[in-house]
């Protein structure tokens, strides 16, 4: 019997804004495929670098979780700074991006198993969902102004943050798939 592939974008219940509910569906769909694509990765594969100074899959998974939580805290909740360590258990320094030229993977992630990254991602998404369900349609246009550590100012709105969370995860998901392909071919750019 031929099975029909179904890809439908559903509006999950429990949200005050349909638009925001649909963004959450998109993020969840992205996550579903990311989880599927990473099954079976060992701790060694998670910390493999194609060359010194390049991100490992583990670093990218941790970065996805860190960035999502940081963006929710400063972008959706409007906090002046984020505390991702308190919220989901990892800081920017620990996820290790951006990695310095020639550097090894973040030592904070050494030996971590896939289940550890799964749990990190799940905590970030639970936090996101908790905040997103409180937002209303009018929040999408709300602008947030932030001073960066270098003194420059960044202005964004809530609608852009939700889109950015999606494209950010999708971009790094694409990189994770590429790193897996490189691993399977046993190819790096330098030392391995």
């Amino acid at each position: 019997m031929v099975t029909t592939a179904q890809t439908l974008l559903e509006t999950p219940p429990g949200f005050r804004s349909e638009t925001i509910a649909r963004f959450l569906w998109q993020l969840d769909e992205q996550r579903r495929v990311l989880i599927k694509d990473t099954r079976g990765l060992s701790a060694k594969e998670l910390e493999w670098q194609p060359a010194p100074g390049m991100n490992s899959i583990g670093m990218l998974l941790a970065h996805i979780a860190y960035a999502e939580n940081h963006l929710v805290q400063v972008g959706l909740e409007g906090k002046p700074t984020s505390d991702t360590r308190a919220a989901i258990g990892i800081s920017e320094e620990e996820e290790g991006l951006p990695l310095a030229e020639g550097a090894p993977p973040s030592p904070a992630l050494a030996g971590r198993e896939l289940a550890w990254f799964d749990a990190l991602l799940e905590r970030a998404r639970a936090y996101t969902r908790g905040v997103a369900t409180t937002l209303v349609e009018g929040d999408l246009a709300r602008e947030v102004r932030r001073k960066r550590p270098d003194g420059s100012e960044r202005v964004f709105n809530v609608g852009w943050v939700l889109y950015h969370m999606l494209e950010h995860e999708a971009g790094h998901h694409g990189q994770i798939n590429l790193l897996r392909h490189l691993q399977q071919l046993g190819r790096g750019t330098g030392a391995r």
Partner: protein, 190 residues
């Protein structure tokens, strides 16, 4: 005083659905970033493979354009047969993807420069924008049935297709950045 960096979705005018318009705004934001990040790439970088059987940056750029035209034909235009030659000047398989194990990039892209890929992306976006602008909110609920190349039936909705166009470009854009990083390291070592 320095001008703040401004990141908001810029909604283009002339759309029948605000939600559909938002997807185009997201795609435009992706293209703006992709264009900015690829300015330094010459033909050698565009056709560099990290290993035989792996995609090049040029293949990924062509693939982004081809896939955008393809999904525009499946969804917003509701066509039953699909081709990209009349829109892009290259065929639906000319990106060489999926590439076979151990093989080289397709001859169709050999020696192509960045201007060629910029033009592909611009043509694809003009095509999708025109079609998506005609959609209404009701159109986004429309279910679409098609048969995949492997013969399997596929059921989807217009809304999923627009979401997929965004996440598809974003995923390959991430890979392009990674390949550009690898190419820089490989060039330094050679």
């Amino acid at each position: 005083m320095a001008t703040p960096e401004r990141e908001v979705l810029v909604m283009p005018p002339g759309f029948g659905s605000r939600e559909a318009c938002s997807f185009i705004a997201q795609l435009d934001d992706q293209n703006a970033r992709l264009i900015a990040d690829t300015r330094h790439l010459d033909p050698a970088a565009l056709e560099w493979q990290p290993a035989p059987g792996m995609n090049t940056i040029g293949m990924l750029l062509a693939h982004i354009a081809i896939v955008e035209v393809f999904w525009t034909q499946v969804g917003p235009l509701g066509l039953k047969t699909y081709e990209t030659e009349s829109v892009l000047g290259i065929g639906i398989d000319d990106d060489g993807m999926p590439i076979a194990a151990g093989t080289s990039p397709p001859a169709t892209l050999r020696g192509k420069d960045l201007a060629f890929y910029d033009d592909l992306l611009a043509r694809a976006r003009a095509y999708s924008k025109e079609a998506v602008a005609r959609l209404t909110d009701l159109d986004l609920e429309r279910e679409i049935k098609r048969t995949r190349r492997d013969g399997r039936p596929h059921e989807t909705t217009m809304r999923w297709i627009l979401y997929h166009m965004v996440e598809h470009e974003a995923g390959h854009y991430g890979q392009i950045n990674l390949l550009a990083h690898q190419y820089r390291l490989a060039a330094v070592r050679s």
